[in-house]
């Protein structure tokens, strides 16, 4: 047998990230390669760790609310909604109807904004540059509505425990309706660019498959799970904030691959528009703040409350010892849990697919690392 040459040495370990444009932040993936084939991965995370849970234990319930916006900063409104609902559950309080409808509208707008960022960057990773400009254009319109409503565009802190701080501005309904009118045809426009595009299809179809059983085993939720055919959405399964009053479909895929996840998210944007239209047509009058005291002292107890964030199940587990500060505040971040399945999804595929798979999980490192 001939002596081993460098051609026979078939294992190569390389670093992807933390400074890499397709890792969407500071994610470092150590890849073990055999040629172009991925033999295994190891994620190194924590570069953006700020100790959000520790901060939570050292702030009052009210003081902590703005911090949650800094976790998944692409979908800050969702983070705020989950936190407010959790503390309200602990207090046994509820937001009044007008606040609930407003919350639904803003959260769904935020879901669209989050999916738009995902679509643009995911397409960019895979080699399609154009969609990014289109999606950022539409996202800008959503951020303008946020800015008009609460003054902030990204870290909105839109909600308060017990309701809302600000009532809707005068032309809110018109702005939102006109956005919906303009946005619906644009989803079709994105689809015209991508859905039947040969390069797009061949880069995504059959890539990063994670079937329904694996999704459950790894705790992967959100569009990734729905693309595997599991028709499960917390908005429908365990409704909150009045979601049981809206008509909407839960899109599911069949092939559990990256292409189906793309289709599921596109359809989710359409469904969000549907929810927003129903909500805007029925904004009730009334107060925007429920009966909660100025100083929040929830009784001794603990609750876990979760919502369907754009990326999956976002949960808050809060333990109260009866004081003004949480005794323990745990965030169940969808990005962190979903990222765990990366190894399962890319093992045995090509290194170029790894880029597509990181994009399709839709992670935000601010939430992974907290």
């Amino acid at each position: 047998m001939a002596e081993a040459t460098f051609l026979d040495s078939n294992e190569l370990v390389i670093n992807m990230g933390p400074q890499h444009p397709s890792t969407h932040g500071v994610l470092r993936v150590i890849l073990k390669l055999d040629g172009e084939k991925v033999m295994g991965t190891d994620c190194v995370i924590g570069y953006l760790h700020r100790g959000v849970e520790k901060i939570g234990e050292n702030r009052t319930y009210t003081q902590f609310a703005p911090y949650v916006d800094r976790m998944d900063y692409i979908a800050a409104v969702s983070n705020g909604l989950g936190y407010c609902l959790a503390v309200e559950k602990l207090l046994n309080a509820e937001a009044p109807p007008r606040a609930q409808v407003t919350r639904v509208i803003l959260t769904e707008l935020n879901r669209i904004a989050s999916h738009l960022i995902w679509l643009g960057t995911h397409a960019l990773d895979v080699g399609a540059i154009t969609p990014l400009f289109y999606t950022l254009r539409e996202r800008e319109e959503i951020l303008n509505i946020f800015e008009e409503y609460c003054g902030a565009r990204l870290t909105t802190h839109a909600f308060r425990i017990g309701g809302l701080q600000y009532d809707l501005y005068d032309k809110f309904s018109e702005d939102v309706t006109s956005f919906c009118d303009r946005f619906s045809p644009r989803v079709d426009e994105y689809e015209a660019l991508l859905t039947n595009n040969r390069i797009w299809v061949s880069r995504l179809r059959g890539v990063g498959v994670l079937n329904a059983d694996d999704c459950k085993q790894y705790g992967v939720t959100g569009p990734v799970m729905r693309a595997a055919g599991v028709k499960w959405d917390i908005r429908r399964a365990l409704p909150y904030s009045g979601y049981e009053n809206y008509d909407f479909d839960i899109p599911v895929g069949t092939n559990a691959d990256t292409y189906d996840r793309y289709l599921v998210r596109m359809e989710e944007m359409r469904q969000s528009v549907r929810i927003i239209r129903q909500a805007v047509a029925n904004i009730p009058d009334g107060p925007i703040m429920g009966k909660v005291p100025k100083v929040l002292k929830p009784p001794v107890g603990e609750v876990y409350v979760s919502i369907e964030a754009p990326k999956g199940e976002l949960g808050y587990y809060i333990v109260s010892d009866g004081t003004t500060q949480p005794y323990r505040l745990r965030v169940r971040p969808p990005s962190f849990i979903n990222l765990q399945a990366l190894d399962k999804m890319v093992r045995g595929t090509l290194i170029a697919d790894c880029v597509a798979v990181i994009g399709t999980i839709d992670i935000v490192l601010g939430e992974v690392d907290r």
């Binding site: 520790k54 234990e57 046994n92 499960w232 002292k297 001794v300 979760s306 745990r330």
Partner: protein, 224 residues
């Protein structure tokens, strides 16, 4: 250094006296304002004897086929099955928890581990409370499972039951220093590997840090 930190106090739900007080189910007073609950003992330097019952979680007992099946299978291992704010939970001893998870997964379709985390009660003998949340798609129901372990104890890993537990247990190890036996890859996950100390413990101050690590790796005197 610890000025901002709240004195660690134990919601006395684990002391025997508190449990006595809680078990005759109090009338369902979901709307009872906080003031009506027994006043919380002001944390004093000396550990307070359980003479005056401290405020406890007003949970009601949880009946049904699942608590029954669990009691039948594990008997004394199930310390409590109760409901608080419409959320059902078990308290078990540490040896029963993972077998109970397996039972819930296999016999009752609780096939999704939502969450695993820990809470630190430094003044209690069994200082760490481990919290597991499981969900069943078929039943559309969540159950929370809790158990206590002492600082020098190790917990059985849930990874053989749910693969999702892998990173969650790594995070608990990272933040609390709880060890899991049977875990395939117990390393720190968010903090640097060489970091000394466990940040989410109650005796770890909010601005405390591993000075040596900061000096050696960042080349600055302090990160604050």
């Amino acid at each position: 250094m610890d000025e901002n930190q709240k004195p660690p106090s134990a919601p006395g739900e684990d002391s025997p006296a508190a449990k006595e007080a809680a078990s005759p189910a109090p009338p369902p007073s979901a709307d009872a304002p906080a003031a009506e609950a027994a006043p919380r003992p002001v944390p004093k330097p000396a550990p307070k004897p359980a003479a005056k019952a401290p405020a406890v979680m007003e949970a009601t007992p949880w009946e049904g086929e699942i608590p029954e099946a669990a009691r039948e299978a594990f008997g004394e291992g199930i310390l409590r099955a109760a409901t608080y704010r419409e959320q059902d939970f078990f308290e078990t001893d540490s040896g029963t928890l993972v077998p109970l998870l397996t039972l819930l997964r296999d016999a009752f379709d609780y096939d999704y581990l939502v969450e695993e985390t820990a809470v630190d009660f430094p003044k209690e003998e069994k200082r760490f409370e481990l919290v597991y949340i499981v969900y069943s798609f078929a039943r559309n129901h969540r159950i929370r499972l809790k158990t206590r372990i002492a600082e020098n104890e190790a917990m059985a890993s849930a990874v053989p039951v749910y693969a999702a537990a892998n990173w969650m247990e790594r995070e608990i190890y990272d933040m609390f220093g709880v060890r899991f036996h049977g875990h395939p890859d117990l390393r720190r996950i968010l903090m640097p590997d060489e970091w000394q100390g466990y940040p989410l413990r109650k005796d770890y101050g909010i601005i405390q840090q591993d000075q040596r690590w900061v000096r050696e790796n960042l080349g600055i005197e302090s990160g604050q």
